[in-house]
């Protein structure tokens, strides 16, 4: 990233650089601290709800703390699907930022919003083809990094380090 921006700077002319400096002055900065605080509370609230859901499953169903993860995640994704469908989640997202994007609800939102968006293009090419437009890379790199970590661990075990 750093390399890239350096390269870009070299490719720009003096006039462009001067303008970019002038433009920076007027650019409204992201209120980072405020966003962080909001993200903390929104993310915390979502996790609190998730905790409540997992306690619900522990109390009323035969799930242990270990196995309660799956139904909880499914329920949270279901909630975020409902909120996305009612057009509320994008507002929460604008307010909460990372707080609503990082938990699994954000992942559900990415999938379902793409599905809604492309529904007019038909179910196969529209919904099917575009559903993972945003979330697809999360899945790909998630699975890939899991593979790499597993590989490293296996090798370490074979070499007797672990």
């Amino acid at each position: 990233m750093r390399m890239e921006s350096k390269q870009k700077k070299q490719n720009t002319t003096l006039q462009q650089r001067n303008y970019q400096q002038l433009q920076q002055k007027h650019e409204i900065k992201r209120p980072v601290l405020k966003n962080c605080i909001k993200a903390f509370f929104v993310g915390g609230l979502i996790c609190f709800i998730g905790q409540a859901v997992s306690y619900f499953y522990i109390y009323f169903f035969n799930f242990t703390e270990q196995s309660v993860g799956n139904p909880t995640v499914a329920t949270m994704v279901f909630f975020s699907m409902l909120l996305t469908g009612f057009g509320v989640y994008d507002r929460i997202g604008q307010f909460g930022g990372a707080g609503s994007a990082v938990p699994v609800t954000g992942f559900g939102n990415a999938v379902i919003s793409a599905a809604i968006e492309h529904r007019t293009e038909g179910f196969v090419l529209g919904v099917g083809g575009n559903m993972f437009k945003l979330a697809g890379s999360v899945i790909l790199f998630g699975v890939f990094s899991a593979f790499v970590v597993a590989l490293v661990k296996t090798l370490l075990v074979i070499w007797g380090v672990l």
Partner: protein
């Protein structure tokens, strides 16, 4: 008539005899709701897709302009229009419905003034009796095209802008001196300016130098100074771009007052609407000019104004390939009929 390097002067002063302006629900809550002819209550507008709704916006705006101008669509020679969607299909499909000979334009958000300049030129030289020109955009359709899905909960930075839902269409015809209507007197066609900005969430900042360049070219070509106009209004620079353009112009020696320099994107919405830096989109300058600004002009608030619509000529593909954002701006000067400039 060509004047200077890149400007036209319309000696016959083509007249904007009628306009049609349609908008969506978000605009209905905005500051300029009263200046719309037709406002839809929801984004779907009773259609199955946003693209169809987009088409409907333009069709209704055209019908409205024809009705107000008391002209049948068969009498209209040409339609100059465009939008932001893939291959400008909403406009082309609307042209299919209307059956008016059609020039499809793409100048991103500068399409409105590109169209008005061209139609004025055609009318000025007796190329046509009636010409329709306009531009439209639909928030959800454009967001889908350029950004994330509508319902995606990503956080937009404060420099982002809100694509407006709306269409503005004007009927341009030869001047009839006894009628009190706005007329176009000159136009300046801009060149593509690229200052190397790459952030698609900061279009205002990318477009500001294009606007400044075109405004400077206009005053240079026509040998005027800013005090000639009551109002210089930019298309959709938003808060960031508008401030930047103002500073650029002041630095270059074009002195103007803040009140005299406005932006359509900032005029459109109320402060409490979540539009970050202001409105944008091809329909932004079209609806504000053909609705609010021309109404104000007829009331006598403004005598002469210069409208500078700016466009960011990027595509989703180009910014993903980390190309910078090239921008363009076109200016058209509008006066009230009977004024001698």
């Amino acid at each position: 008539m060509l004047k200077g390097h890149q400007s036209w002067v319309f000696a016959n002063r083509p007249m904007i005899s009628a306009t049609g302006v349609t908008g969506g629900p978000f605009e209905a809550n905005g500051k300029l709701a009263n200046d719309f002819d037709l406002l839809y209550e929801d984004l779907w507008m009773g259609k199955e897709s946003y693209e169809k709704a987009h088409r409907l916006l333009l069709e209704e705006a055209i019908k409205m302009a024809l009705k107000k101008g008391e002209v049948q669509k068969e009498q209209v020679q040409f339609l100059f229009a465009g939008d932001l969607i893939n291959q400008i299909t909403p406009t082309s499909f609307a042209a299919r419905t209307m059956q008016i000979p059609y020039f499809g334009l793409f100048g991103a958000c500068s399409t409105s003034m590109e169209g008005l300049a061209l139609s004025s030129f055609v009318v000025n030289y007796q190329g046509a009796k009636y010409v329709l020109t306009g531009a439209s955009s639909h928030n959800a359709a454009v967001e889908k095209q350029f950004r994330y899905p509508t319902e995606y909960g990503g956080q937009k930075p404060p420099t982002a802008q809100w694509t407006i839902t709306g269409a503005g269409v004007a009927l341009v015809q030869p001047n009839e001196p006894e009628k009190l209507h706005p007329v176009t007197t000159s136009a300046t066609i801009g060149k593509v300016i690229d200052m190397g900005l790459t952030d698609p969430f900061n279009m205002g900042g990318a477009m500001a130098p294009a606007a400044a360049d075109t405004i400077m070219a206009h005053f240079r070509d026509l040998k005027l100074d800013p005090s000639h106009y009551d109002l210089i209004v930019t298309g959709d620079l938003g808060r960031v771009g508008h401030d930047t353009a103002f500073e650029l112009l002041n630095k270059s020696g074009l002195k103007m007052e803040r009140k005299q320099f406005q932006d359509c994107g900032l005029l459109m919405y109320k402060d409490d609407q979540p539009v970050q830096s202001g409105g944008s989109g091809a329909g932004c300058s079209a609806t504000v000019l053909y609705g609010h600004l021309l109404n104000q002009m007829k009331k006598g608030t403004y005598q002469r104004m210069l409208v500078v619509a700016t466009g960011a000529l990027l595509s989703p593909l180009s910014f993903q390939q980390s190309e910078s954002i090239p921008c363009i701006a076109h200016a058209v000067a509008i006066e009230m009929n009977g004024e001698k400039g």
